[in-house]
Subunit: 131 residues, 2 copies
DNA sequence: CTCGATACATTGTATTGCTATGTATATTGC
DNA sequence: GCAATATACATAGCAATACAATGTATCGAG
């Protein structure tokens, strides 16, 4: 147990990329529910599969609580045949409206940033020169 | 002065959109300096013009300090003919490398989110139905 | 010499994602 | 029965960061 604590090496989230997620995870959670109800862990897996967006359990539940408190989601306990009850979340009408708005804002926002970094992206290849 | 304090009505930043900016503003500031040195307020105006990205003065200076402390920027006081000295910031080699990396990460990240919200965007038009 | 504009800077607050835990239920092995 | 394991939901404390509000300094105009 001397220094087995390198555990985090692959678990560690780049703090910058953690910051990037701020705000987008609410959008992502709502978007995940767009096509039908899912329960908490299922949302995690959905996001990881569909968008390579990895978030911790400790992250998703507070988000879902917040969204529910805002009236964007409703939840319902459902018994599972194997295992323990699951809390399924569904979009409310208000949630549906919100995610549409968020999506539109996001498209603009990301396009703006994209335009901003375009010169940086265009630069590619010049790095080789240095060798 | 009774309730002139509606001041914020147009000054108010949507808290969600404030969250969206987290992390991206460091990238934006570095990107603004890609084509040459600028001073603080000039960066604000550049971002507002080029990317509709509005940030408060109280936001840009801490960012520049952070980036400088990380060795991504250098700064230099320059006398202005009219007015007060300006602190011009320039990218270091390390900063140039960082912004290239950030730009690449951003492109991936935004593409992932875009894919996620695509079904929501496709939904457009259905809202009209309600009228 | 005061007023306003420009420019840089700091302080306190709120939001939010993450790590580390904790709790409950059901299944499996003995 | 009962520990061990897996699934699922939940909370507490921490860290990062954008913002509003404020403060300081310099210069030009009147």
């Amino acid at each position: 147990m001397t220094f087995n604590n390198q555990k985090s090496v692959e678990n560690l989230t780049d703090p910058w990329q953690a910051q990037l997620k701020k705000g987008t995870l609410e959008m992502a959670a709502l978007a995940a529910l767009w096509s039908g109800p899912l329960y908490g862990l299922e949302i995690l897996r959905f996001l990881e599969t569909k968008s390579e967006l990895v978030l911790a359990e400790g992250t998703i539940y507070p988000i879902l609580s917040r969204l529910k408190k805002e009236g964007l989601l409703t939840s319902e306990w459902v018994e599972a045949e194997a295992g323990h009850p699951r809390k399924y979340y569904s979009l409310t009408a208000s949630g549906r409206e919100r995610i549409r708005h968020m999506a539109a804002v996001w498209v603009d926002f990301s396009a703006n940033l994209r335009r901003l970094i375009q010169p940086v992206l265009d630069h590619k290849g010049q790095k080789e020169e240095k060798r």
